[in-house]
């Protein structure tokens, strides 16, 4: 299995090559190189997947394979960072997802980014991202994951800021990086705590179910929660940052300033699910050591997904809608993990979550790429500049529709299956939570079709040039992904990826399925009513629920809160006083010494009067004084 190394390494080589020599290459050549490398990586992933899923099952359980592991940095004899490749069902699944979506995006970008300044740089960054993401998913230990986690963050930063002359893009990239960095701080502290008590970073050891590993943390608690809960909650914080969980999601909508294919790859399909992947990776630890954190995860996931769904209903920038939709869907995945158990049927949530991750990657990438095609056609992100595009962009329209149906949870599209499992697991866990999630699913269907109608139907906008369908390099990925979306639901996912690596036979929970489909259909119906044609209903609703609408379109003022924290508290409240303190107090003290000496020097000046007799008197008094002091004291 050593060839799996190539999957990770090839994009790196491509990055280095394009980064160093890219300037000398023709843009097209650079693009081809990147794409071909990714294609090879994708091919290798498929082989790996096939190989793994066919041979790794021993006694009905998938074994973990570690084809490569070498020591990279020592901390102590036992604690060291290794770099290596760990293959288990989720890793392999992620390999497939990432290489697939990435390949599609590479391909798509050939057309989409054509003629852009910095084309080579773009491909270099894409390769860097692919490398980092692949490295992340195959990490053998939590620190390797952290390493690639950071690299992913940087690639995301670079790609969001790709149009670096655009102030919004720069601000967005900065924001994305800092917010996730802040979350990563939690991740890091979590790692420190975890490794301090367990003495290992290795996933294999951590997830082996060996509770003696955690004996050191037994009975230790801080503010009412056990130390392990803290550690795992902090690690989840890292995941929440990357996966844009409430309230750390603020960077994701802004990240849409990046090129649309990048949004598809990073901010929809792959990087943002890293948090989910992290929790899944450590799931046994969570389940055994900190079940309370799992509840937290479920709640955070639910809140996030509801919140994002509400906000998505009123956004007018199509990429923002998709961004909030992504946040919402990741919330679903988190909820799935949070409500899951470890063994057998208890593990439904886990399985469903992973399944949803898979399907979502495909259809969300499809949505973004579709959005890209639309933007490519009309040169705008705003819904108001669109409408009636179905006849101009037939392929885009159809594939987009497929994706919308999938995300709305209409059978037989893939989203239905995965989301349904999550809902089932949630209802099983807690009916209230289930209801909330079902409502959210309804909202999802509503806003997706709002989006769909307002782009493709509704009132047609006048365009100077008639919008035209994108070139083949862009449509092929659309079609491919649409095809996957159509069939992915029928993959027997339980055979491959489960919480205990054993087979899980999926039983469709008909009650839940029926309800959710019904809700989805009603929601779609409402959307059709509101947005199929130009209608005054939305405006009237907006005026009726003025407060809610305003709050939702301002994303419930969370950005303002962040701005307040950064500008007012950190910048003006801490940094400025600190700088002032440094300049006036610390520095002032040092300068004070100098001034003091000078003053002192000035004040004793008169002492040297130039009068001979005074000098002599001082000599005499000096001698007398010394005498008196020595003799009488």
């Amino acid at each position: 299995m050593e060839y799996t190394l190539l999957i990770v390494l090839l994009p790196l080589l491509s990055f280095l090559f394009l980064g160093l020599a890219g300037k000398g290459l023709k843009p097209r050549v650079a693009g081809y190189i990147g794409t071909i490398v990714l294609a090879i990586a994708a091919g290798l992933s498929y082989i790996t997947a096939w190989h793994y899923f066919t041979t790794a099952k021993v006694d009905g359980v998938f074994e973990k394979w570690t084809p490569l592991n070498f020591r990279w940095l020592n901390f102590t004899e036992h604690l060291h960072i290794d770099l290596g490749i760990l293959l288990d069902p989720i890793a392999v699944m992620m390999l497939v997802v990432i290489t697939t979506v990435s390949l599609m995006v590479h391909l798509y970008s050939l057309g989409y980014m054509h003629g852009e300044r910095g084309f080579q740089r773009y491909y270099a960054f894409l390769s860097l991202f692919s490398f980092s993401m692949l490295g992340l998913v195959v990490a053998t230990n939590i620190f390797q994951m952290y390493i690639f986690w950071e690299l992913v963050g940087v690639s995301s930063y670079l790609l969001i800021g790709f149009y670096y002359t655009k102030p919004e893009a720069v601000a967005a990239s900065k924001k994305a990086f800092i917010v996730t960095r802040f979350a990563d701080l939690g991740f890091l502290i979590g790692i420190l705590l975890l490794s301090f008590y367990t003495g290992t970073f290795s996933f294999e050891r951590l997830t082996s179910g060996d509770t003696s590993l955690f004996a050191g943390a037994e009975g230790l608690s801080f503010m009412g929660c056990s130390v392990m809960s803290w550690a795992l909650a902090l690690i989840f914080m890292g995941g929440a940052g990357k996966s844009a969980m409430f309230p750390l999601h603020v960077w994701l909508p802004d990240a849409m300033e990046g090129p649309t294919p990048v949004s598809a790859l990073i901010h929809a399909a792959t990087m943002v699910v890293a948090g989910v992947y992290l929790v899944a990776r450590l799931f046994p630890v969570y389940y055994l050591e900190a079940p309370d954190v799992l509840v937290l995860i479920a709640i955070v996931g639910a809140v996030t997904s509801l919140y994002a769904a509400i906000v998505a209903c009123v956004q007018t920038d199509i990429k923002r809608v998709l961004a909030f939709s992504t946040i919402s869907q990741i919330g679903f995945m988190m909820v799935g993990l949070g409500v899951s158990g470890l063994e057998g049927h208890e593990g439904l949530g886990y399985m469903a979550s992973m399944f949803h991750l898979f399907t979502h990657a495909m259809f969300k990438a499809l949505l973004f790429l579709g959005a890209g095609a639309i933007i490519h056609a009309v040169h705008s992100n705003e819904m108001t500049r669109m409408g009636g595009l179905w006849k101009h962009l037939p392929i885009t329209h159809l594939t987009f529709l497929v994706a919308c149906l999938a995300i709305a949870g209409i059978p037989p599209f893939s989203g239905f299956f995965s989301k349904d499992e999550i809902l089932a697991a949630t209802f099983h866990f807690n009916p209230v939570l289930g209801a909330v999630m079902s409502f959210t699913a309804g909202l999802t269907a509503f806003y997706m079709f709002r989006l769909y109608y307002r782009i493709f139907w509704n009132k047609a906008t006048h365009h100077d040039h008639a919008p035209h369908e994108a070139p083949g390099s862009m449509t092929v990925p659309l079609i491919f992904l649409a095809a996957v979306t159509l069939v992915a639901g029928f993959i027997p996912f339980g055979k491959f990826v489960t919480s205990d690596s054993a087979d899980y036979i999926i039983h469709l929970d008909w009650v839940v399925a029926t309800i959710s489909v019904a809700i989805a259909v009603i929601a779609i119906g409402l959307a059709t009513l509101f947005y199929r044609k130009e209608s005054s209903i939305p405006d009237r609703l907006a005026t009726t629920f003025r407060g809610l609408h305003a709050a939702a379109s301002q994303r419930f003022y969370l950005d303002e809160v962040y701005l307040f924290i950064t500008k007012k508290i950190i910048f003006n409240g801490i940094s400025r006083p600190v700088a002032w303190f440094d300049h006036h107090v610390v520095d002032g003290t040092m300068n004070g010494f100098a001034t003091l000496s000078q003053r002192l020097s000035g004040s004793i000046r008169g002492f040297q009067s130039g009068q001979l007799q005074q000098y002599v008197m001082v000599i005499l008094l000096g001698a007398l004084l010394i005498t008196v002091l020595v003799v009488f004291i």
Binding site: Q613, L624, T627, V628
Partner: protein, 170 residues
């Protein structure tokens, strides 16, 4: 109360020294100051004589009274157009400071001097023979002072050269 001649002489000398010392430093006329100094020096010579250090007294008279005072008088006359020019009036503060310093110094010194248990007086009268003085000045053994004698001659030479160098007109 039986006051011997020695004591009478001493008290007379002490009175002269005390009085004229103070007058020397307080009189307003420079020339008088030199004259009073001369009296003090005479009285000092008297003390040497009383101590039976006649040689010392003679030297005192010749070098100090005969030599140095003349030098002073000449230079006073040389530097003052009106030979007997009054000294400028002093600021009281200055005088006070000087007085305080001097009195304090005298006080401390006297206190320590008088408190110190000097050994028993081993006073033995008898003139120091000049021959002994001469021998001591030419000898190299202990309590003989050939080397200092040579050194002071060099010192005198140096001072003569230096003094001439400064004092001559060119």
């Amino acid at each position: 109360m039986n006051i011997s001649i020695q004591e009478t002489v001493f008290f007379a000398l002490a009175a002269v020294i005390g009085l004229f010392s103070i007058l020397t430093v307080t009189t307003k006329r420079l020339l008088r100051s030199a004259t009073y100094l001369l009296f003090v020096l005479f009285a000092t010579a008297g003390i040497y004589f009383q101590l039976d250090y006649a040689f010392l007294g003679a030297v005192q008279l010749t070098i100090y009274a005969g030599g140095i005072i003349i030098l002073y008088v000449f230079s006073i006359l040389l530097t003052n157009q009106q030979a007997d020019e009054k000294l400028e009036r002093l600021k009281n503060s200055k005088v006070l400071a000087g007085a305080v310093a001097a009195v304090a110094g005298a006080g401390i010194t006297l206190f320590l001097l008088l408190a110190h248990p000097f050994g028993p007086s081993r006073l033995a009268s008898g003139e120091v023979p000049v021959k002994a003085v001469g021998t001591a000045l030419m000898g190299t053994s202990k309590y003989q002072y050939l080397l200092p004698f040579e050194v002071i001659s060099i010192l005198l030479l140096a001072c003569i050269i230096g003094g001439i160098m400064i004092a001559r007109k060119r």
